[in-house]
Structure formats: C-alpha cells, structure tokens
C-alpha cells in the first residue's frame, strides 16, 4: 500500500452546521464508511465528546468543515483511493469561542472485503504551536510562489491582449501610413497574439487544477518540463537559460502531488531568482535504479547561485558567508521541509566562485504512470 503525504492540504477553518466540537478536543481516532460518515469514534477524545459522540455517529465528516472547503477535503478521498494512506493531512476547525484547533490526520483506507464495505481508519492528533508555526511558514512560501506564478501568467495574458487591441485598432482604422503591407502584418501579429493568449490560458487552467489537488504518482520529467514552462516568463525576464538533461523518462515519484509540485517549482524558482543575468542553469533528472529513487539535479557553475546560497554551505558544515538575501534562507528551509514530507533528501553543495549544485532525491513509485497528472501541456 503506497503512502500519501498529505502535508499542506489544508481543509480550512469551519464549523459544522449542526456539530460543534468540544473545547478540549484532544487526540481523536475512529472509522469512516465509504461515504465519509462516522462509523465509530474512540481515543482520548471519546470521554470529552460525551453525548456528542453518539450524535456524530452517522454524520458525514465533511460536515465539520466549512462548505466552501468541502471540495478540497474530498481530495483526501481521491488520494486515499489511489494511494491507500494519507499521512499528515491538516484540518482546521473553529471552536465555539472563536479560537481554532488544528488536527494532523492520518487516514488509512480499509479495502472492501466480502463481509465488509470499504472504510477509512482515521487518527487525528492536535498540532503543537511549533508545528503550527512551521506549517504556516511553509504554507506562506508556497502561496507566495503561487501568487508570483499567477502574476506572471496574468502579465503573459495582458501583454498579448494589448497587442490584439492595438493591431485590431490598426485594422479598424484603415489609414495606416504604411498601407496594405502593414495591415497584413498587423493581421498576422494579431493572430500570433491571440494564439499566445490561448496558450497561456491553457497553462493557467492546469495551474488551477493543481490547486484542486491531483492524486497519484507524478512523473519527475513532467514536473520539470512543466515547471520550466511555467517559469519561462521569469527566466526570460532575468535573462536566465535552462539546459535540461532528462534521463528519468517514465519515472514516477511518490508523495503528495501538491507537495511535489511545490518542491520542484520552489527549486526552479530559487534557481531563477538567485541566478545572475545571462547565466545557464543545468537541470537534470536521473534514475538511481538500485536504490529505487529518482534524482533531480539543479546546478549552476557560472557563479550565479553560490554567493546567495552560501547558507547552504553552512548546512553541510563547509563554511562560508551568510546570504545577503533572506529569500535564499527561506527558500532552502521550505525546500528542506517539503523534501522531508515527500520522504526525500535534499543535498546542496555550494562554494563561492565554484557554483552550486542542488540534488533532490525522491522515492520512486512502484509503477510509472505515463498519464500521471501534469502541470502544463507543453515542455519548456
């Protein structure tokens, strides 16, 4: 049974329309049926629940989160069906006093048997303050990255739309000083701009689907090529060029799809933002067959990352200066956290003047799914 790391899936704040959890909501465990209804509730919370325990039996678990966020909670079920186990999914509940409680959930699918329908065993543990702060730190970084990508996408749509409007005005005006040739050229440019809008809209559509929570193993090559496509604007603006060597064709990696996406995109984003102008960043994927792991290597030997990433040197106790940018520090911490959530390892070697190499190793999925979820339709 594969495990799915649900870290970062935020079920959101909410209160059941009819069910209010008690003030002292400690650890909770129990079973849900295939339709998400409480079959049993046990654990230390059982006594605290009192009569509420009886009321909860038969109630759909989705009802204890806000209606607007129920669709996201349903993604747990999708992930469970494909992966078997969700570990570390976080759910936020609003208490009657206005405070909030967070539970880290572990969900395990109990497959249907002849004598029993499919069910889900759940165990929820209250989060500590430290875990909460750490969670939101990573979440904030993930959302900032998503916001930047969204702004880039908006820019990429607005520019060709402006071109469409301008060339349409030329064609409508009909008195271009350069005559028919310019009008023909404007018509051609208008078509090009419209095509660009369509392509970018497709990218945005895929980005939206990502936030809805894809399930299933993801192909590392797809992640990289789609990520590079998403960062094409940022790379162009910074004058950075990517050299890709994708050798892990058809190799799928395990872990929460949204975490994997954020991890790979975060690394690419960090590489672009810390790169010097006109530098080349090598991105390579390889399969470590004997170990059953997939490797993603992002490196720059042009002295682009090394200075900003000198903090990475201290991580490996090789000495070095602290980075000037707080971004590098944060990006590394987030990448490290996300890689741990995916049960992967992150290794960074960086020496001033000699370049930087970031190696991410992720556990390979048992079976490669060629049609695994993708971010974008085309390669970078």
């Amino acid at each position: 049974m594969r495990r799915h790391d649900g870290g970062g899936i935020d079920a959101g704040a909410g209160r059941s329309p009819g069910v209010v959890l008690p003030q002292a909501c400690g650890a909770i465990a129990g079973t849900l049926d295939a339709r998400g209804r409480f079959l049993s509730i046990d654990g230390p919370v059982e006594a605290a629940l009192g009569r509420l325990r009886e009321e909860l039996i038969g109630v759909c678990a989705v009802r204890i989160v806000a209606p607007s966020l129920r669709r996201r909670v349903m993604s747990f079920w999708e992930a469970l069906r494909s992966l078997g186990t969700i570990d570390g999914a976080r759910i936020h509940l609003v208490r009657p006093d206005g405070g909030s409680a967070s539970l880290d959930l572990t969900l395990t699918l109990l497959p249907a048997r002849r004598t029993r329908d499919a069910a889900v065993r759940f165990v929820g543990r209250p989060s500590t303050v430290e875990a909460e702060l750490d969670f939101w730190r990573v979440e904030a970084a993930r959302r900032r990255l998503a916001a930047r990508l969204a702004a880039d996408a908006a820019h990429e749509i607005n520019n060709p739309l402006q071109a469409v409007l301008a060339h349409a005005a030329v064609l409508r005006g009909g008195s271009d000083p350069r005559g028919e040739m310019a009008r023909t050229d404007s018509a051609k440019r208008l078509r090009e701009a419209a095509h660009r809008v369509r392509e970018t809209a497709c990218l945005v559509q895929h980005l939206r689907r990502r936030f809805e929570g894809a399930a299933g193993p993801m192909l590392l090559d797809h992640l990289v090529t789609d990520g590079l496509a998403l960062f094409a604007v940022a790379a162009r603006r910074r004058g950075v060029r990517f050299e890709t060597h994708l050798a892990a064709a058809g190799a799928a990696v395990t872990g929460s799809p949204s975490t994997l996406v954020d991890l790979v995109l975060g690394l690419l984003d960090m590489a672009i933002r810390l790169a010097r102008r006109a530098s080349v960043i090598d991105v390579a994927t390889t399969t470590c067959g004997a170990v059953g792991r997939q490797r993603l290597e992002v490196s720059c030997t042009h002295g682009a990352l090394d200075e900003a990433l000198d903090l990475a040197v201290t991580l490996r106790s090789e000495g070095g200066r602290l980075p000037a940018s707080g971004f590098a520090r944060e990006a590394l911490v987030v990448a490290l956290r996300l890689s741990r959530r995916c049960r992967g390892t992150l290794e960074i070697t960086s020496r001033a003047g000699r370049g930087t190499r970031i190696i991410l190793e992720l556990p390979a999925a048992a079976t490669a799914t060629a049609d695994g979820p993708r971010l974008a339709p085309g390669a970078a």
């Binding site: 005005a169 005006g173 271009d176």
Partner: protein
C-alpha cells in the same frame, strides 16, 4: 510616421562610450538637446518603450495611424535613453517589466534627465495590484495604466496629458 529603432545610432553611441542615460545626460549633446527642445514646434512626439515586440509595433502603428503624432519605439532601457535624446519625445509610454533595467527605474532616470522639461511619462504595464501604481508615481510617472487597455482609451489619456 513610424520610426524604426535606429540600431546603427545605438551602436555608434555605444562605441562612443555613452553606455547609460546618465552618461548621456552629462554629454554636450544632451545639453544641446535640452536647448533645442525649448524652440521646437510641430506634431507631438510619442516614444513607446516595451520589450514585447508585438505590443510595441501594434501601439506604434495604432497611434501613428489614429493621431498626427510622431511615434518612435525602444525595446529596452538603453535604447529608451538614447531615443529620449535623439527623438526628443513629449510623451513616453513605458512598460514596467523589461529585461535589464526595469521601467520604474527608467522612469526615474528619464525624469532626472528631462529636468524641468515638460516630459510626460505614462506607465503601461501588464502587472496590476502589486504596488506598481504607487511606485510608478513616486518614480515620477504622470499616469499609471494597466494592460490591456483599448487604444481609444490610451489616446484619450495621451491627449489629456499633452494638452494639460
């Protein structure tokens, strides 16, 4: 008329060591340009600065076909600085996100370069809502517009600024 980017002039300027708007501002040619602006009449001149080829050409064609203005284009900060001196625009339509120096920096430097000259600068960008509006006004822009904007609307703003 549409003036094509005079890459030869840019090359020539580079070979003469005029590598930034600031350095040009200190040159004797810039002083002559400032003097000449005072006495220049004729149709208003608009400089469009945008790294996106399609937007730049489209706006240049639209403005020159719909108005009597003279229009020239530049694709980056250096070319914009050079054209500012060579073409002597009355109004600059400036993109924010450009390779190399960003539009807001270009705006601040153009404002410094123009000194007391009535140079109008309009920021026209695809980004919105990330503080660009405030920052563009701080850097000396007269107006902040977001793409996509109808050409007629742009023309209305341009006319208001030129007549105001």
């Amino acid at each position: 008329m549409i003036c094509q980017p005079a890459s030869g002039d840019v090359q020539s300027a580079r070979s003469r060591g005029l590598r930034s708007p600031e350095r040009f501002a200190r040159s004797s040619r810039a002083r002559r340009w400032t003097d000449a602006r005072v006495y220049r009449g004729g149709a208003p001149r608009i400089l469009i600065v945008d790294d996106d080829d399609n937007v730049r050409v489209g706006l240049a064609r639209a403005l020159s076909s719909l108005t009597t203005c003279e229009v020239d284009t530049a694709r980056d900060a250096f070319e914009a600085g050079y054209k500012l001196a060579q073409f002597r625009p009355d109004l600059v339509l400036l993109d924010v996100v450009m390779p190399g120096m960003g539009g807001l920096d270009v705006c601040a430097r153009m404002r410094r370069l123009a000194g007391s000259e009535p140079l109008r600068i309009v920021i026209l960008t695809g980004y919105d809502g990330s503080g660009h509006n405030e920052r563009s006004l701080i850097s000396g822009a007269d107006l902040f517009l977001t793409k996509p904007m109808d050409v007629d609307e742009i023309l209305r703003h341009v006319k208001d600024l030129l007549e105001g």
